[in-house]
Symmetry: C2
Subunit: 284 residues, 2 copies
């Protein structure tokens, strides 16, 4: 079966080609006719926000997200205030680049009290609401895989992210769904339906078996065990029509030439995300 | 603060001292005055079931669990039938040893359809019910950490385990709570309360930061980030009065002399599981 090559929703999350600078990633997307990009703050910092904006405008690419805000919990009130202030800068960057969202990786607990860390996250998001509204940027909470609970995010499931997001106005606080972080969840259908109207981003990659590394072990779509097509269909079933970002943290992929990675990404986007063609030809 | 040294609920899950044979583990428990043991099937197989029973009876130790049954999903009906038959043997072993429970590690999906794998688990448990009743053994579903979803268990959260267990009679199908597998869960209190009357085992260890290995990276209580005392209090709050097994998969601990591991385990059992003394002296 041939799938029509429709890349209108595809976005390169630039961590997938981490060796590329922002300028190189934009050029790579233009060359491969990938119409959108998710931009990381450390790449913005390399050239500055003004130059980043100029590069993005010249390229004419859509910015599907800025990665990442968050990292809210901290042991002292002073440190938490600094984190919130840093998130205001992230909101400035997202606004300047015309990004759909600022992705929030909410941060790990500073001690054994994960419930307290969760309250710090809620308080910080609440504190950022007026600033986000002024800049018309949606903050999108990304629940991370529970294996990152101690080091990256105390927000570990879609249910938890829903409960948190529902405390705020959906134009200001949404949710990002990444298949890598949620594929294991038996409550996925229920919680995606609950997130209807709040989903502000969708990320694709795959879970490799065995997993070579907890952080850097993500795979290209189709190379792992996630039924990405099914999750994409469920997400779209909630009315989501936004971009589909490919975000892969994997040194082996980073070591490949970026142009080749983008071609593979486009193939698998068609055959594992938009359709199921690849699964029929390549069982796990 | 001095905690009274009450070890009546303590049990050594023998994987914690994996270099020891069953006989050595029983001797180690007697020497350390640990009154119960969780026994693994590969250790039973080393000496046979008859000799295992003799050793256990001579030692006079209580057997808190046999580890492990499960591993139900498979690609073919014939293979699934073999898995069920193997679980009948595991139930025989648990019955012969007078174990409180047979722990079920339910198994990974054979392909990308995790929902189908979950149905295979439910079907297999259903098929085993009459046999388990005859032998008066409770099968205890252990939800595993979601990072094991692709390789060890498609049952990944306490909510999911509750939904599954509730389909069966609580005398035949219960739940094992292991802090390592559930500590990250924002719904932990709700789901422990829901499991009231079904909790048939409680396992303790710790989540090291950073985690040295996905499988073999568990830590001694107190050496990681889990508030074990809190989870133990919640479990006991549901009316659980059973054993507390210490189950640690970690090559560094396996390489230490077993007697030293048991002494450390007893100390930390008092100071991190029964009380919070250790946390007050040693922040994360």
């Amino acid at each position: 079966m041939q799938t029509s090559a429709d890349y209108t929703r595809l976005s390169l999350n630039q961590i997938t080609t981490n060796r590329w600078s922002l300028a190189e990633a934009l050029e790579g997307c233009l060359r491969a006719q990938v119409p959108a990009i998710g931009i990381w703050r450390h790449k913005i910092a390399e050239v500055g926000l003004t130059e980043s904006r100029r590069l993005v405008r010249n390229a004419g690419l859509h910015v599907s997200s800025v990665c990442r805000g968050g990292m809210f919990p901290a042991a002292t009130a002073a440190e938490r205030a600094l984190r919130i202030e840093d998130n205001r800068r992230a909101l400035d960057e997202a606004a300047e680049l015309g990004a759909d969202t600022l992705v929030l990786v909410c941060g790990p607990p500073p001690d054994r009290d994960i419930a307290a860390a969760r309250r710090m996250v809620e308080d910080a998001i609440g504190a950022l609401i007026p600033y986000a509204r002024e800049r018309r940027v949606t903050m999108a909470i990304e629940p991370l895989h529970p294996m990152y609970a101690a080091e990256r995010s105390c927000i570990t499931s879609l249910e938890e992210a829903n409960i948190l997001a529902e405390k705020f106005d959906p134009d200001t606080v949404g949710i990002v769904v990444d298949v890598y972080h949620v594929w294991w969840d038996a409550m996925l259908e229920r919680e995606l339906e609950r997130a209807r109207g709040r989903i502000r981003g969708f990320h694709a990659c795959d879970w490799l078996v065995p997993t070579p590394d907890m952080l850097m072990g993500r795979g290209m779509m189709g190379d792992g065990c996630i039924d990405i097509h099914r999750i994409r269909s469920l997400v779209d079933g909630t009315g989501y029509t936004g971009r589909i970002e490919v975000e892969i943290l994997n040194q082996r992929i980073w070591d490949q030439p970026g142009n080749e990675v983008l071609e593979r990404m486009k193939e698998r986007y068609l055959s594992c995300v938009l359709s199921r063609d690849f699964y029929q030809s390549a069982p796990t």
